[in-house]
Symmetry: C2
Subunit: 227 residues, 2 copies
Amino acid sequence: MAGKKVLIVYAHQEPKSFNGSLLKIAVEELSKQGCSVTVSDLYSMQFEPRATRNDIVGHLHNSEAFNYGVETWEAYKRGGLSKDLVEEQKKVQEADLLIFQFPLFWFNMPAILKGWMDRVLVQGFAYDLSKVYDGGLLQDKLSLFSFTTGGSKEKYAIRGDIRYLLWPMQHGIMHFCGVKVLEPHICYAPENVSEEKRKEMLAAWSQRLKTLWKEEPTDCSPEWYFK
Amino acid sequence: MAGKKVLIVYAHQEPKSFNGSLLKIAVEELSKQGCSVTVSDLYSMQFEPRATRNDIVGHLHNSEAFNYGVETWEAYKRGGLSKDLVEEQKKVQEADLLIFQFPLFWFNMPAILKGWMDRVLVQGFAYDLSKVYDGGLLQDKLSLFSFTTGGSKEKYAIRGDIRYLLWPMQHGIMHFCGVKVLEPHICYAPENVSEEKRKEMLAAWSQRLKTLWKEEPTDCSPEWYFK
C-alpha cells in the first residue's frame, strides 16, 4: 500500500538474530510496497526504559511528591517532555501501522520495549480522562505484535490458545489507546528448529506482509479473549 | 516469624507515594516480627533494565552473534555475570519471601521491574533445561505481588476477577522458577479515594502482614487461572 507509514519498534540486541531477520524482511517487503518505514531500534538507540523525573524538561507540576503519570501528562500539555519521548511520539503520530518486533521474555515483552510503552504512551498523547479503548487518542492506527518464543507452541497454550498471554499487551495497551490490533505473528522456538524450518518461518512472514493491508483487525474485547 | 529473610523489590520513584507507604509498612511490620528485611529500591539504585552485553564480564561464549539467554547462562556457570546481577541473585538466594511492590503500568509491572526479572532470573540460577515450574530452581521460596492501580477494581475484572492479568507475572515468572505465590495484594486507585480510605488500605496491608506466614500459597496452575 504505497504511501502508508509504518513504525517498527524493534527490541533485539543482535542484527544477525532471527528477530533481526524478521525486521529486515519487514523493512524490505513494506518498502517494496511503497510504504514509508521507520525503525526504532531500541537497543542500538540505547533507549531509556526507566520512567523518571528526567522525562520532564524544566519545572515539575508538584515538586513535593513526584507522580510520573501526573507529571508526564502536565509536561505533554505544555510541550515539556524530554526530546527522546517527543521524537517517538512524532513517529507514532505519523504511523498508520505500528509493528512491535521482539523476543518474548517471561511471557511478555523485554523491559526495554515495556519502557517504550511506559514512557511514550503518556496521558494526553495516547489516551485521556475518558478517552480510552474505542475512544482512545490513537485511533485509525493498526498495530501488530511480532515475536519469537523460547518454547514450543504447546508451552504457551491454554485451552489450545496463546491469546491469554496477549491480553495485557494487545488489550491493555494498544486497545486502551484506541489502536486496532492485527493478528499477532508468532515464530515459535526458532532456536530449536531446523534451518529449513527457520527459512519457512521467514518466508511466511514475508508472505503475510504482502497482503497485510487487507487484513481485518481482531476483536480485542474481553469477551473474545475470555469466551 | 523471627529469622525469616524477606527481599522487597520496590519500583517507585517517590518515597512519599502510596507505594512508598506500603513499602515502609512492610519493612516495619516484618522487622517487628524479627524478620531480616532487605530492600532493592530499583529507582534509587538506578537499576539497569536493559538486557545487554554489559551483563557479561569478560569474553562471550559466541561473539559472532549475541544471544542474551545463552550468554547469561554461560556467564552464570563460570561466575561471569555483572556485579549488580550477582548481588541481586544473592539477595534472592537468601530470601524466604520475595515481595514485589510497584504501581501497575499498562496491565503489568513497570519496565524497571520487568528488567529486574529479565536480568536477574537467568538460566542456571532460576531455572534450567527441564527444571521449571514445580521443578524450578528457586523452590522453597514464597512470592507476593503487591501493587497499586490507576483504575477501580471493576476496570480490571474479567468475569469479576483480575487473575488473568496476573497470569504472566505469577505463573509465567514466579511459578516457572519454582517460587510459590501468595495472594496478590492490590490497592485499587489510591489516588482517587478519600484520605480515610487510603488509611484503611494501609492498615489492611499492615494487618495482612501480621499473619502472612500462616497463609497457604495459591494454586498457580493454568487450570485455576482459566477454569
